[in-house]
């Protein structure tokens, strides 16, 4: 046996880059190992999207109105499936490690928290995209969608901008299980539910009670959905969606550093109070 000295002599940035790939690759390995559960969840979310699509089909009105409402609902369902996946993967970074019992090994490794969260974020985006493509193919067999004028490139651009802010939003939520192992996870589940309610996933936010509507403006999902619907249903350009893009850009610039700062404060607190331990 001999010990290679390679990790001791590499520059810091290269080691961090290798670790980013390590986190993404580990998540791929886990997806592969839990493949049956992945199929189950994919079938479940696809069925859920179909169910919501059929609400549109059964709504009555002209064929054009039905196609438009069905497309409106399915865009909500697909975009929520993708964005909630990113948020969940990021926000569960800590609880997942705690549950598996690897939290101490990960937190004493030299890879930085930016690296860890970046690796999780990269995988969440790639995996979320792959799931949505499979869902889209499945759904396209069932409905006549109103996508004649759709600007797909514009929609993809808005989704990409929103993904960055959602990764940051997930980082903010990821700190909760560091502060309190069980309650933290409960809080992030509530945050997901609130995002679902206020972001106008299946309805316009105008139908929400007056006091609730301003909350939608705090959610990146609201701007993403509004912009994607405009580009897909109305054929609007990416540039014309500036009103939806600038809040996403601001959130994308604020949430990741804020999330990282909060995460580091949370880690310090957990190390001081001895909460950085496995559970289960």
């Amino acid at each position: 046996m001999h010990a290679a000295s390679a990790p001791l002599t590499k520059p810091g940035w290269l080691r961090e880059l290798i670790a980013v790939w390590g986190y993404a690759q580990r998540n791929y390995y886990l997806t592969k190992r839990y493949v049956l559960w992945e199929v189950v969840w994919l079938v479940y979310t696809t069925m859920n999207a179909l169910t919501i699509g059929f609400i549109g089909v059964g709504s009555g009105g002209s064929a054009e109105e039905i196609a438009r409402l069905t497309t409106f609902l399915l865009i909500g369902s697909m975009v929520w499936s993708y964005l909630s996946m990113i948020f969940d993967l990021l926000s569960e970074t800590v609880s997942w490690e705690r549950w598996e019992g690897t939290i101490e090994y990960t937190f004493m490794s030299p890879a930085s928290r930016v690296t860890q969260l970046l690796g999780m974020g990269v995988y969440a985006i790639v995996y979320g995209m792959a799931r949505v493509i499979v869902m889209l193919i499945a759904i396209s067999f069932f409905f006549d969608l109103s996508l004649g004028d759709a600007n797909y490139l514009g929609a993809a651009g808005i989704l990409a901008v929103c993904s960055v802010s959602l990764v940051g939003f997930g980082m903010v939520a990821a700190v909760m299980p560091l502060l309190s192992p069980e309650k933290g996870q409960q809080v992030t589940s509530i945050v997901t539910a609130v995002l679902l309610l206020i972001s106008g996933i299946y309805y316009s936010i105008d139908v929400l009670p007056g006091w609730m509507q301003p909350l939608a403006y705090l959610s990146p999902v609201y701007y993403a959905l509004d912009g994607i619907r405009e580009t897909l249903l109305e054929g609007q350009t990416f540039g014309s969606q500036w009103d939806n893009i600038w809040p996403l850009l601001i959130m994308g610039a604020v949430f990741p550093p804020l999330g990282l700062w909060l995460f580091q404060r949370g880690e310090h607190y957990a190390k001081r109070t001895g909460r950085l331990k496995r559970a289960g």
Binding site: L8, A19, R26, Y34, E104, T106, P110, G274
Partner: protein, 276 residues
């Protein structure tokens, strides 16, 4: 710069007056470590003996930057590990009593991931994994089986292999043989001996196994209720506590130093935990 500093450092580890207490109730605190000071020389193996709840795991967590001490200094190869954790983390690794793995992933997948966290690529780690696993007598045909299919002893060997992949200059072993069957225990102890001989690592070994401490360690410390009440070679400890002609066993040294047997101390600690 850091590597040069580390290579020049005289000691692998220096702890000075480490205090750590945890909140028990609203205004109540329990001391896990009380003014603990010790030095681990380069290439030395120091054992820390103590019952469950004596503070051994907290001590390892403080050194491995997982827990912040309330006061005191932790120097790893001359670098302040509390102020500069990132600088020291890549030079040390830890094997704990629980096998910290993704149980559904295979040994190979866990090892590749563990190595990457320390900046070791697949191309570098795969031949090393083969070499290390062959060296420790791990059946390589089982390397792609999920970890949960392996025995505790095999999992612990993989944990040691994972640490070796990162070329640690300081190894922290927190009860690595606890709960293993006698055969696996012997295998893991052999592996620790080999690590010491082949890797020039300095090792801090926490255990409550007297025989293990005596066989593997250059010096042995006794930790009781968070206090390091003795630290010396086994021979010196025995000499210090010798009464009459017959040199005492390490169990008798422990009893003389602490006023209790290891089993009694563990029983008391369990009772205290229950009461808390």
């Amino acid at each position: 710069m850091t590597l040069e500093k580390i290579q020049r450092a005289k000691h692998a580890l220096e702890l000075r007056n480490i205090d750590k207490r945890f909140k028990k109730g609203r205004k109540d605190y329990a001391y896990a470590l009380k003014s603990v000071s010790l030095t681990l020389n380069r290439g030395e193996v120091v054992g820390i003996l103590g019952p469950n709840g004596s503070g051994k795991s907290t001590l390892i967590r403080v050194i491995s930057t997982l827990t912040l001490p309330d006061s005191g200094e932790v120097d790893v190869f001359g670098i302040d590990a509390v102020k500069h954790p990132k600088e020291v983390q890549r030079y040390m690794n830890r094997v704990s009593v629980e096998a910290s793995f993704f149980k559904k992933l295979s040994s190979m997948e866990n090892l590749i991931f563990g190595a990457k966290l320390y900046g070791v690529t697949d191309r570098e780690s795969k031949p090393m994994i083969r070499e290390i696993l062959d060296g420790i007598g791990f059946d390589f045909t089982r390397v792609n089986e999920p970890m949960e299919h392996l025995s505790r002893g095999m999992q612990q060997k993989i944990a040691l292999a994972r640490a070796l992949l990162t070329s640690p200059m300081l190894m922290l072993l927190d009860e690595p043989t606890t709960g293993l069957d006698p055969r696996s225990k012997k295998d893991v102890q052999e592996l620790i001996r080999a690590i010491r001989a082949d890797h020039e690592s300095s090792i801090l070994l926490c255990t409550h196994d007297m025989g293990e401490a005596e066989e593997l360690c250059d010096r042995i410390g006794i930790l009781l209720n968070g206090e390091l009440i003795a630290l010396d070679t086994a021979e010196n400890l025995k000499r210090q506590h010798q009464v009459g002609d017959r040199p005492p066993t390490l169990e008798e040294v422990f009893m003389a130093a602490t006023g209790t047997t290891l089993e009694e101390a563990e029983f008391e600690n369990k009772d205290e935990k229950k009461a808390a």
